[in-house]
Amino acid sequence: MSTELSPIVEITGVSKRFGSFAAVDDVNLTIGQGEFFALLGPSGCGKTTLLRMLAGLELPTEGRIIIDGQDMSGVPANQRPVNMVFQSYAVFPHMSVLDNVGYGLKVSGVARSEIRERAQDALALVKLGDFGHRMPDQLSGGQRQRVALARALVKRPKVLLLDEPLSALDAKLREQMRLELVNLQETVGITFVIVTHDQDEALSMASRIAVMEAGQVRQLAPPAELYEFPKTRFVADFIGSVNMFEGKVEAVEGDVIRLSCPGLERPIEVEQPDTPPIGSTAWAALRPEKIDISKEPPPDPTVNTTPGKIEEITYLGEVSIYHVRISDVLPLVKVAMANIDRVTRRPFTWEDEVYLCWTRQCGVVLDR
């Protein structure tokens, strides 16, 4: 995907060390023009440090950052063609909304009349056109965030950096803002780089996601690829929910891997192009919504199946999660079923003896 787009940000061998601790460890990334790029990872994985290095608020210990063809080493934060939306929004409390938005233009010496006009346009863009005269303490959290957005967009940066922009909003507003951010990005055409620890946020907004752990990028892929074909156990576990079966690769027939797992009667069969060597340890990762529950074993012998007993049911509204005991040596397997009928007519209940089945195309086999 990135090959189609001309690169706007190139990060080459960038590390940031605090003493012996590497917050960011040899990261290489290329972000394309007009992308909505997400840095996703648990707290402390170095994603915010990486973002701050793009903004120039931290300097890399090693490596090079090129933005729009220009080497950023030695370019201070106030001269970089990027702007940032901070986690706390950092709206100046002593300035009116209009002055906040116009501040970036004011310090760059833009004429007063133009500042007013452009600030007003930016406010209209985030649907706060009538709020210019208000003070920040008269705004709600969501409105303050829009002010921070307008303030960062008004200078027409090459790249807009967003540091956990939605984490302080309530669930409903967060969902709405996700859509608005995507629309806004399409309207202005600026490259967005967002840092988040929320996988839903990254999956729903980003065109590409870099999953980070311990200062390194573990996988870089579009959302669907990341979810369906995770490369490591960490990524599979971090994005969404997953059932993990550890086992040994027993056989490989063409594209089909046979993985024998302790606690399962039959080996798990998975069809995937890249296959691990026979005899190696591997893990089968299986999403809860890809498993089906039935009373009878499936007739098709190519379908993976195993008997089990429902131990717990978690009702979540649109889906129910069934926790199924397959064997004493395995953790409970989670199976998600959409609640198509009302819950009173649930097809299965506690202590039911059932069969779990999933096709060969459902899971992935991971070697690390």
């Binding site: 903004a55 120039g56 608020l57 934060a77 106030n78 001269q79 990027v82 702007n83 940032m84 901070f86 986690q87 706390s88 950092a90 100046f92 409390p93 002593h94 300035m95 009116s96 002055d99 501040y103 970036g104 310090v107 760059s108 210019g132 005269h133 003070m135 921070a148 303030r151 960062a152 200078k155």
Partner: protein, 287 residues
């Protein structure tokens, strides 16, 4: 029954309703009496038509006229105000910069520096007065300069004991500063100086005003340190009043003191008003 309830509040006293407890009310009353009764007496007797401060003999403004005609007293008054104004400006700037330095940077012996800075707050004034006297005579600070330069020694002494108060107040204010604010300004293209002017100073303003007020009053009524650093030509108001009182407390002293009290009250109210106006200003402009 309702009426009875209105007149006699029978509801039990809540755990936080301190003002409904008798012992609390009595403490409050006693505090007010001990704090303000002497001041009220002083002000009242400045209008007394008697040479002595004991019996009320009728209203008169003649001691105000007398105080105004007392050149020594007026000179001391002007000296005090001059010192207070000049030293407040210096102490506020110095204190604010010290607070910023301690808040923003990490450097060796920072803790020691912070402790040393707070010393003038805890050192007994008498020690500081003697130290100042010894210091100025040791380095041979000139005493025969023309006015207002002859006040420089006192001004320097006042700055040295009042700037730590400003620093402490501003430092406390800075603890609540969100660093993302200055980073946001920087990110938007502001230089170090613009960040300081547009973000840091407005944030510090309440601390600066409070610190300046504190420094001003500390300077205006300081006796001990001033006494040691003043010469025969550089008498300040408290020192002058002291010398007058040594003979007897005349209503003239009362009158001069009342003027001083009135001035400090007016200045405080002015400062508070300015502060609240600065807060409302952008709204007024928009409205």
């Amino acid at each position: 029954m309702n009426l009875a309830k209105v007149f006699r509040n029978r509801e039990p006293i809540g755990p936080l309703e301190y003002t409904r407890r008798t012992w609390m009310r009595l403490t409050l009353l006693a505090t007010f009496v001990f704090l303000y009764a002497p001041i009220v007496t002083l002000v009242a007797f400045s209008f007394n038509d008697s040479r002595r401060n004991i019996v009320w003999r009728g209203f008169s403004l003649k001691y105000y006229e007398q105080a105004l005609a007392n050149d020594g007293l007026i000179e001391a008054f002007v000296n005090s105000l001059t010192i207070a104004f000049v030293q407040t400006i210096i102490a506020t700037i110095l204190g604010a910069l010290t607070a910023l330095l301690l808040w923003r940077f990490r450097f060796p012996f920072r803790g020691g520096y912070e402790g040393a800075m707070a010393l003038p707050i805890v050192i007994p004034e008498i020690c500081m007065g003697v130290a100042m006297l010894a210091f100025f005579s040791r380095i041979g600070w000139p005493t025969d300069l023309p006015w207002p330069l002859n006040l420089s020694a006192i001004t320097i002494a006042h700055v040295s004991f009042s700037f730590p108060f400003v620093a402490v107040v501003v430092r406390a204010r800075l603890e609540g500063f969100n660093r993302e604010l200055s980073e946001a300004a920087q990110d938007l293209g502001a230089t170090e100086w613009q960040v300081f002017r547009d973000v840091m100073v407005p944030f510090m303003r309440p601390g600066l005003v409070a610190g300046a007020l504190l420094a001003f009053t500390l300077s205006l009524d300081d006796f001990v340190i001033t006494f040691f650093t003043s010469g025969p030509d550089t008498v300040t108001f408290p020192v002058k009043v002291y010398s007058m009182v040594r003979f007897s407390v005349t209503p003239e002293v009362n009158a001069a003191s009342t003027v001083l009290i009135a001035m400090t009250v007016v200045l405080t109210v002015l400062a508070l008003w300015l502060q609240s106006r600065a807060k409302l200003k952008p709204e007024e402009v928009a409205g």
